[in-house]
Symmetry: D2
Subunit: 379 residues, 4 copies
């Protein structure tokens, strides 16, 4: 019987085009052309839709991977999923988390009761611009999520703790293309503002995950609910979008008894934007058993990585008091930065994956945010 063994390496980047950390992992034999399955990271730059830091990082990492795998750049996406989230405002260190998956032979009798980390990936059907932020995108993400779960060997949605998705957004030229064919698009705003194409794409992707996992029934979904009916959401979807993409890419993380990894993943949801306890709950969910209210250094030494969303609440009230974030011109940057602080103040480190800044989202419940944690087991 073949069993997965998944590893995750967190590597800081000194510049958008810095691939030295990847090279060191390769030189040390920790990643191999046939084990490298995903690179998820935070790139420095503004994080806005025209952030050249993110684009440059994407080009540089794909070039390196293409050489490492000995395949063409265009074929890289078929083997390795890239989820690069732009923008490291505040206390978010530019970094990548490199995910490997090895298949090890285990005796059929060698049963294991503890669930350990597995990973699966899938590409979606192409998504034309008129589908962005709408049912077409939702359904194609749902379908790809199912295939990624199968790739991970997961069948029970409760074993899924994190689904990272990258989907096509809109660009000036893709809008022109759609409209020249008589189609409408969901938005003419290319930003991540509240009616921006970027957030519509992200939110359709999140609803696609929710549909795949049964968090939301397909019958409850329609074009009209996207960014309107906030009672519909996923608790494990972290999604992003880029104008340059044509297909969606889905990366599923979960736990399975069929895994031989030494890692476990867990997740939790914060109850509101300042809820540090929600972050600690995610760590507990992944198996950190810190005594008292706070983890100590020994606890934290087992923490491998945190993936967090930092969506701005749709209300101007937190615990009964007004905040002005919704009205803030710089809210996109500040909202992301605040999530970085919330997580870093708990984990005691700045190499956390934190994306966000959108005003409201179907990624997590209204006001709350998703936090996933990967922890190394004691044994």
């Amino acid at each position: 019987m073949k069993a997965q063994k998944v590893e995750m390496f967190v590597v800081p980047m000194a510049a958008p085009s810095d691939t030295s950390g990847l090279q060191q992992l390769a030189d040390a034999g920790k990643i191999k052309p046939d084990t490298l399955v995903a690179i998820a990271g935070k790139t420095e730059g503004t994080g806005q839709h025209d952030d050249w830091g993110r684009v440059w990082a994407d080009v540089a990492l794909r070039q390196w991977t293409s050489r490492f795998l000995g395949i063409s750049i265009d074929d890289v996406a078929k083997q390795v999923i890239f989820v690069l989230s732009g923008g490291c405002p505040g206390v978010i260190t530019p970094h990548i988390a490199v995910v490997t998956r090895e298949w090890v032979e285990v005796a059929d009798s060698d049963s294991q009761t503890e669930k350990r980390l597995v990973v699966g990936r899938a590409g979606s059907e192409p998504m034309p611009p008129e589908e962005v932020g709408r049912m077409g995108q939702i359904r194609k993400v749902a379908e790809a999520t199912h295939r990624a779960m199968a790739d991970a060997g997961l069948t029970d949605p409760h074993d899924v703790h994190l689904v990272m998705v990258k989907v096509p957004g809109l660009t000036t030229s893709s809008i022109k293309d759609a409209e020249s064919r008589g189609k409408t698009v969901v938005s003419h705003d290319l930003t991540f503002g509240p009616e921006g194409a970027g957030v519509y794409a992200n939110d359709a992707a999140a609803l696609g995950v929710a549909m795949a996992l049964g968090e939301v029934k397909e019958s409850a979904l329609s074009d009209g609910v996207v960014r309107r009916d906030w009672s519909l959401y996923s608790e494990v979807a972290m999604t992003s979008s880029g104008g340059e993409k044509r297909h969606g890419e889905v990366l599923v993380f979960g736990n399975s008894t069929a895994s031989r990894s030494s890692l476990v993943i867990g997740h939790a949801v914060t109850k509101d934007f300042i809820d540090a306890e929600g972050v600690r709950n995610a760590l507990r969910s992944a198996g950190l058993h810190f005594d008292g209210g706070l983890p100590d250094e020994t606890d934290l030494s087992r923490l491998v990585h945190v993936f967090a969303k930092s969506v701005i609440p749709g209300s101007d009230q937190i615990r009964g008091h007004r905040i002005t974030l919704l009205d803030d011109v710089d809210a996109y940057q500040i909202g992301k930065a605040l999530g970085g602080m919330l997580v870093a103040s708990v984990t005691g480190r700045t190499t956390n994956y934190v994306s966000g800044g959108e005003r409201n989202s179907h990624q997590g419940p209204p006001g709350g945010n998703i936090i996933a944690a990967v922890v190394r087991t004691d044994g």
Copy 2:
């Protein structure tokens, strides 16, 4: 024997010109013309040097106070100290903390061993533009701090836990004035950037407090050390500057056995920018005795207010990892916002006074920030 009884009321503001909270306090008899000594708060707006939200709030609050006290607007500053810090990015609720001081008669025999909150205030000599950010400003703040301590009835610097100072900054016209008289000014940059007049003024004020309290020897001070020798700092100074001012204003908070307040103040310093434990230490210093690592709701119900700085570290490293905040165009806003999150994630509320965003400061040690807390005693 006359003894101080100090109270502090935290009042959210719904708009820069909102004085309804003040009026309610007045209507309820909680503040009186002869007890109102200070208003310290956070105003909404960009927080930049030309933030009209802060200016408008200042005008509106002074007008209200002028009517309340029955004196001219120009005379208000002689009786009531205003420390309005602009900018409420993120999770900082626009609010004011209204400070009253009553003198109650106590029997000489009625001795008390516990130290309780006292407050003192003083205005400084006028500070011409050529003194901003230099020894002239430092010495005048030091002198005013001594007088404010005397006004508070404090003699031991260790009893001082917070010194809020507002001093003149520079403006286009005050620079022109100085240079027309053959004087130089410390900077031509009016922003709060690393060489901005705003931070030079703030930092000279902080060194003035440090000199007054003996945290730094006068002999160690010179024009050249301001914003250059970071080993010199105060652990209790929170300073700000405004181009419209001509004098400095100093507000000292400390604890004294001569006080009959039911409030106590304490303070601590964070060890770095993500140090939530530093915030908790400030709460402990003021007398919150929360068990375990975290305060619960009963603990927090005794917390009256937190005053915090959120100065951006001068290094691009936090606990060994690179952050890009120093290079960030929006660092001033983000840096302030991050302090708001650090405090709110501990206090569970957003009505905290958090000023900052400067890159490095003599307010607090390198990398660390000052947090002061006011707590209601159990008894």
Copy 3:
């Protein structure tokens, strides 16, 4: 027979609350309580939807006017139209243009063939949030425009050269109100971004003017064309919106033989974003007859004021070359600033009314902008 005599005074403001220029006009007898009909101006600040400079200016100017007219602040809007456009980026001097209208007795025989400046104003029916950016708003602006034309004594749309409109936009609370009543709103984005409520309101107002003037047929209008069908537009509408408003306000400027003003208004449309000749054409349209390609100082001395839009083109091409303005995070400020430069480089002065920054608009044809000019006649 009564005839209008309209004057316009351009007054710089030294701060958002500066009413000294108004006071000087009043002291000099140039404006009187019964002649003051409108104040249109540019206020300093960010110009964003939460620009406190604009709000403060509005409050200060209304307070002054209320005292000047001897009526309550709430009644001011019934007598004087305020069109304050926030944001003076670049070379736009904060200022107001104060418009007066006097009724002078002229003999019936005293006929005049030259058309001169007239002004008319009207308030609209209240516009609930669900009408913002939609047909409800369009129709109510059209209706008010008809009444403002009547007030101006204008019947032929060709005599109308400028229609300034201020309408309600959306706010967090008005959206909440609409949705609590089961209504939808046109956008959840409060900014002036491409799908922002601010631009939907502005554009519905522009289409309302276009409908009133016959520039667009009512049958061509529907909710769906707003910010989608750019072939529909007005060549004389300059519109703005503010969340605090409940009614629309319309101010019509045109020329009439029934006027005894010494001023004339004209307008033109630029062919693209860098078309300085379009600005010169507006000056010519208002009666400046400069010889050669350029006006000289004598020509310009007759120019009283310019009102200009600076809408960002919806295409990323200008005369065949790509620009990146559509993708620029700061496009709203920069787009407005660029119009200020285009106009100032022609008029040789910075006290021009320039509003804009939106990406595309029904105010003017695709890519072009409306410029109106008021000129003093020779005689």
Copy 4:
């Protein structure tokens, strides 16, 4: 006798890494490894000191050039001068101007009286961080300017119409380096704000050019005059700085009878920030003889390129009226954008080289800006 023949090709870029225009020039035989001497351009991105668009463009263009010349990337700088100015706000098309220089044999008797375009280049001695913005940098730029003039075959400073310089700025790490060696640096501010290291470097470079050309006497120069004594300036220096550089690079353009180019260069200085006539004067200086006040299309068809500075005036007044640009948080972007509009409104095209945004500079007289134009001769 060998004579220079200089050509200039203006090539739009579709993205920061777009080298297709260069490749087309190479394929068409217009540039050759031994004729390519300089690439000066505007790259898209924020234009701030951490603008990854500019950095990426620099890397991509150098890589292409390295392959084209068949030399290592590190050696490229010895043969080809790169002056890439970041930021294309508003109506500035991302582009490069590619400069070639060929040496043609002419008979000694073949004398020519008309002066035509020549170009020369030189690298400077290395500039350590403590010299940035100070006399060390000034002197080294002056020295390199002399050598670049010699390389161009120019001896009379009046024949020099444009000197483009790129010098080292400061970075967090170069500041650390200097201070660890007991040296001070001119500023701790890495931005292009009024006391930023970027502008100090730019301005020292400008004074270096001024010293070389005799516009300013060496005896008038000292560390203390940089960004303080605005009466000292160059009328032909356009300078920029980058933290990544260690040497200065100087590119001199002028006219000489020894040239066999069909191009001529000229320059002028605007009298203030809105002076379109100053731009027209630059075109005239280069030999465009447009009749009337304005150039027509035939005139403009001979215009090859415009190089312009857009430095923000140090005063808050333009022609007697206040502007708020000096106080504007976004002034750096807006100031640059405004220069782009001023030039484009005259040239009728957006492919102009416009750098700027600094508040005040020794590049040009106080309030005015340098405009250089390259024109193709009639013959």
